[in-house]
């Protein structure tokens, strides 16, 4: 990815609160039109990362860059970013139309037609006051404002929180549509992995404040498998070909979630291989959440590979 092609980049981004490190050395890049899914357990630093990217917080070390300019202190380019972040909501008594008006001040590309139609589809009147809306409607209103703003980068923290299945699908459909039509980049943090799996181009999994995985989703589908091997199989047999993400012994077999080091290696079979099948993103996410086996050496090797990847 060339520098001019980078929409968002973080370089060794670190942030601590009162001595407690929440994010450490996070280095990521996102290109134009990409949809990046940010996955990770609660408290792992997803929201903090999004706030750092959108210029709400100051990095303790490192920096986040948007279109090549540091997001701290917030640059003049911030009008190209639309955020829906957790813990940020309009004050009591605000009308929906005021939220839209406020957003329209930021960008002259604000699409009033789109905003009105998206609100009407969900029975949200622009005259409604904030406190009269349901949780889902509130979330949808903020998403509509972001989607209609004409922003080049959408930073969404749990956008589907409170939305029903149909609305979630509609949301992700719109994200994909904007990505395809206008090259809008989206960074989405979510716990509903099945949803993001449909639209995400890249996936980042955070664990303990660090990036455990950053990879294009397509590549993961081709390279990550769950294999069943004879129980006596040693990890040293696997590691030259693949990274062991998670392994367990069940009955008389060793079941491992592995990621092949390259696509052509995935075509080869391990000695005595009993079975092999693809894993969903959800399974992969869970695999990354499991305690690491085999020992640390292999894990570090795997992580190192992942970074270089």
């Amino acid at each position: 990815m060339t520098e001019s092609n980078i929409v968002m980049e973080t370089i060794d981004l670190t942030r601590d609160f009162g001595g407690k490190v929440v994010l450490e050395d996070v280095s990521l890049t996102v290109g134009p039109g990409e949809i990046l899914a940010l996955l990770g357990p609660n408290g792992v630093g997803k929201s903090t990362l999004l706030k750092l990217i959108s210029g709400m917080l100051m990095p303790s070390r490192g920096e986040a860059r948007l279109w090549g300019e540091s997001s701290w202190p917030p640059s003049a380019e911030m009008y190209r970013v639309a955020c829906v972040l957790d813990g940020m909501s309009p004050p009591y008594g605000t009308r929906v139309s005021e939220i839209m008006s406020l957003k329209s001040c930021v960008s002259h590309r604000f699409d009033w037609k789109l905003a009105t139609s998206l609100c009407e589809q969900h029975q949200i009147s622009t005259a409604s006051r904030w406190q009269t809306l349901s949780k889902g409607q509130k979330r949808w209103t903020l998403l509509v404002a972001a989607l209609a703003s004409g922003a080049d980068l959408l930073v969404l923290d749990e956008p589907a929180d409170g939305l029903d299945v149909a609305t979630r699908r509609e949301l992700y459909g719109l994200l994909r549509e904007q990505s395809n039509d206008r090259g809008v980049t989206s960074i989405v943090a979510s716990h509903i992995i099945a949803d993001v799996e449909r639209v995400a181009d890249d996936v980042v999994i955070l664990a303990n404040g660090r990036v455990r995985l950053h990879s294009p989703l397509e590549q993961l589908r081709d390279e990550v498998f769950e294999v069943e091997l004879p129980i006596e199989t040693d990890h040293s047999v696997i590691t030259p070909m693949a990274e062991v993400i998670f392994s367990r012994r069940a009955n008389d077999a060793l079941i491992a979630v592995i990621r092949f080091r390259s696509l052509h290696l995935a075509e080869q079979e391990f000695p005595g291989e009993i079975s092999r099948h693809r894993v969903s993103l959800e399974d992969l996410y869970l695999a990354y959440r499991q305690p690491q086996q085999p020992p640390a050496q292999a894990e570090q090797q795997g992580l190192a590979n992942e970074r270089s990847h």
Binding site: D16, F17, G18, G19, K20, S60
Partner: protein
């Protein structure tokens, strides 16, 4: 209010900090980033500025130190105190820069009470040292000549010290001119009276040595120093006024005040020359020329004082003063409003240069002359502009000083201490404004004049911050003031002390409501109405004040409101008269002034009480000779047309008193003396009727007529006869009586008197003729005599 803020800060701060500390200790949201240098520097700068303010506060004196001047030894200590405070503050600032701004800020706040305690301790220490060190500073002493005559040598205790004005120190005097013992009557030998004052060849004064430090009730006493002062001018002895006043030296609160001894001087020659100048003015029928003026300029103070003293009896001298002032300030060149304005500006410039202005001066006379010719609009506009710039009249000073009597401005001032925005020339302008108002009021009082329209509102505005301005507004009057008073008075209910101490007036040892007091003393219809509505309270207040009056040697100033107009009825003085008289009569300690106080009171009442009321105040039961110690002064309190009636009434009362007493009893003697004094006084009353009565006394065979005739003769010798008496005596059939007026003509050679002299030159009696010829020759010689000048 400030205390509440201060306490709030002191109490709330620790609670707030404790709460914050607890919250932080339990919070995980605290960010552990280092404070950027820029923030530290800015916040430390803020603390530095606040600290500087504190240090300036200390350097300029802190609490209570501000009134003390910065002597060298004080400066040293102040530098140390400031140094310690700066070091303390620097610690906090450095702490803020390197470690924690919050800690430094708390340190600063905590430092405030510490600094206060520190300053107080330093102050105590300083005052202790002050008491010792201040005594080491020599106290200056100045001998100046009031009449501003140069080349006068000053000899003190027999040692020639130098020329006046002599500036030395008490210490130097003690060393160079140690005290000498002079026999008690030695220094008063050769005394003489010039005018009303006694002059001595060598004067004595006692001077405190200024050992009273007056700092924190500390006092040390020492023997006063005796000084014998002798003056000479070009080898000729100069006499010094016997009543030699001086301002004693002082070290009060560290302010070294020099002892100033202004000496009033005269020689027989100077007195003679002054008298000659006065006589020549009379001879010229009070029309002075340039030669007279140039001679009078050399004897400036002597001639001016003589003129001022003569004006009450010879009002023509007023014109002499004006002519002199015109010449001195080149007012002859004043032809129009513009030139008058230039002349006024020139006077203002001179006054500023001199640093003092008095209405009662030749300059004041010049200003009064100019008032008639000035562009009044311009003067009012300028005064208005100046007033608008002031926030207080007494401190910033438009320039009115106040005499003892309420309602009468006294424009005298001298500027010993430089005031920031107070210039003597403002006094000149104030004088002009006052004169303009007087002039317009005299013309017509029906409508507001420009002063009342333009200046009075400004003064009332000023009076919100400075009540002094109200007093001045009252002098000028006008409908704005009346309306202001009317409305103000609606809000006034009682004279009782106001809870707000700034709204009280201190009178006769008690506080009363200033609003009430001002309303009570307000002139015009509003004041008249207020006195009617509040007459009961006003009389109650008057009684309280009277009971607390310490001395009743004259009519107290506060009685003014009793004589002011009351709507639809007589002044309150009428209702209060009995109470007042009882109190004065009961006060035995002031018996010599009883009658003058009572008559002063009656003479102020309008309409004027009849003569019988004045006579009724005569002490019938317990007469005191003191009441008529100075009959001329006592009777001069009365209006001229009542004087004879009252005098005769009192003579009759005295005779009646005598008739029922034993001739050798004490009251009889007192009545007898009073009767004599009253009769003696009759010729001094300036009326034809009094002259007729005096002539009757002279011509009857009254046992006391011998004394009476001697008295009349003396009055002639000293030029004290009234013009009415001169006319009577000059035409009497008794040649001896005719001869009494001749010395008077010599002393007062006015045109009328000179006509009398011409008649007496043809008198049938040779001795009268001879005396008249002698005087005529003297007057002719006087006419030919050149104007004497001080060399």
């Amino acid at each position: 209010m400030y205390e509440i803020f201060f306490l709030a800060a002191v109490v709330i701060l620790p609670i707030y900090l404790t709460a914050k500390a607890w919250r932080w200790s339990t919070s995980t949201s605290r960010i552990n980033g280092k404070t950027p240098w820029s923030v530290r520097v800015v916040e430390a700068s803020t603390l530095a500025i606040l600290t500087s303010a504190m240090v300036i506060h200390v350097a300029s004196g802190g609490i209570g130190m501000v009134t003390t001047p910065l002597h060298d030894f004080v400066i040293r200590e102040r530098v140390v105190v400031c140094g310690i405070l700066i070091a303390l503050a620097a610690c906090w600032i450095l702490l803020g820069l390197w470690k924690s701004i919050s800690l430094a800020a708390v340190g600063m706040i905590v430092s405030l009470p510490i600094a206060t305690i520190f300053i107080s301790s330093a102050l105590s220490y300083e005052s202790e040292r002050f008491k010792k060190e201040i005594l080491k500073i020599p106290v200056p002493i100045e001998f100046t000549i009031r009449e501003e005559i140069d080349d006068i040598d000053v000899t003190i205790n027999g040692v020639r010290m130098g020329k006046a004005p002599l500036h030395t120190t008490i210490e130097e005097l003690e060393a160079k001119a140690p005290p000498v013992t002079v026999p008690k009557d030695e220094y008063s030998k050769g005394w003489k009276n010039f005018g009303n004052s006694t002059y001595l060849p060598r004067a004595k004064t006692r001077l405190d040595r200024a050992d009273k430090v007056g700092f924190r009730s500390h006092e040390e006493k020492s023997e006063p120093m005796e000084l014998y002062v002798q003056l000479e001018r070009r080898g000729q002895l100069v006499m010094i006024s016997g009543s030699m006043g001086h301002s004693g030296p002082s070290r009060m609160f560290g302010n070294i005040q020099p002892a100033t001894i202004p000496l009033s001087v005269i020689t027989e020659e100077w007195h003679r020359d002054t008298t000659t100048l006065m006589e020549k003015a009379r001879l010229a029928d009070y029309k002075i020329d340039a030669d007279w003026i140039s001679a009078a300029d050399t004897y400036f103070h002597f001639v001016r004082n003589a003129l001022i003293a003569a004006i009450p009896k010879e009002p023509q001298f007023r014109q002499v003063l004006i002519d002199w002032a015109k010449s001195r300030y080149h007012l002859d060149q004043v032809t129009d409003a513009d030139s008058a304005w230039y002349a006024l500006e020139a006077i203002q410039a001179q006054v500023d240069k001199k640093g003092a202005y008095q209405t009662n001066s030749l300059t004041g006379d010049a200003v009064e002359y100019l008032v008639e010719r000035l562009d009044s609009d311009r003067a009012i506009a300028m005064a208005k502009t100046k007033l608008k710039r002031l926030s207080t009249i007494s401190v910033a000073g438009f320039g009115y000083g106040w005499g003892s009597e309420l309602g009468k401005p006294c424009f005298s001032t001298s500027f010993q201490t430089p005031q920031t925005d107070r210039k003597p020339s403002d006094f000149v302008l104030a004088h002009v404004i006052w004169q303009l108002d007087q002039k317009w009021d005299a013309q017509s009082n029906d409508h507001d004049n420009p002063v009342e329209r333009e200046i009075v509102p400004e003064l009332i505005r000023l009076s919100y911050l400075d009540p002094q301005a109200t007093k001045l507004a009252v002098i000028l009057g006008g409908s704005t003031l009346n309306e202001f008073n009317r409305r103000q008075q609606r809000l006034v209910y009682s004279f009782k002390e106001n809870s707000d101490p700034t709204k009280n007036e201190y009178l006769e040892g008690q506080y009363i409501s200033r609003d009430f007091w001002q309303s009570l003393n307000a002139v015009g219809p509003a004041g008249a109405n207020f006195r009617k509505e509040h007459s009961y309270q006003a009389l109650e207040l008057a009684e309280q004040l009277l009971n607390k009056s310490f001395s009743l040697t004259s009519l107290p100033n506060w009685t003014e409101f009793l004589f002011l107009e009351v709507e639809g009825r007589e002044p309150l003085a009428r209702d209060f008269w009995k109470t007042f008289r009882d109190k004065v009569e009961a006060d035995r300690s002031h018996s010599p002034w009883r009658l003058s106080v009572l008559w002063s009171y009656l003479a102020r009442i309008r309409p004027m009480p009849p003569a019988s009321e004045f006579v009724a105040a005569f002490p019938k039961k317990s007469p005191s000779y003191g009441d008529f110690n100075n009959p001329e002064q006592t009777i001069s309190l009365l209006p001229v047309d009542l004087r004879l009636q009252v005098t005769q009434g009192c003579i009759a009362e005295a005779a009646k008193g005598k008739s029922i007493l034993q001739p050798n009893s004490e009251p009889y003697g007192a009545f007898n003396q009073i009767e004599y004094q009253l009769i003696r006084h009759i010729p001094t009353i300036p009326s034809d009727a009094a002259a007729d009565v005096a002539m009757q006394y002279l011509e009857t065979t009254n046992p006391k007529s011998t004394e009476f005739s001697r008295q009349l003769k003396d009055q002639g010798t000293y030029g004290q006869l009234t013009s009415h008496m001169v006319a009577r005596l000059a035409t009497t059939s008794n040649p001896e009586h005719r001869s009494w007026v001749i010395p008077q003509i010599r002393i007062l050679p006015s045109s009328t008197n000179r006509e009398t002299l011409v008649r007496l030159l043809k008198d049938e009696d040779p001795s009268v003729r001879e005396s008249a010829e002698k005087v005529a020759a003297e007057l002719e010689e006087l006419r030919r005599l050149p104007y004497p000048k001080l060399k």
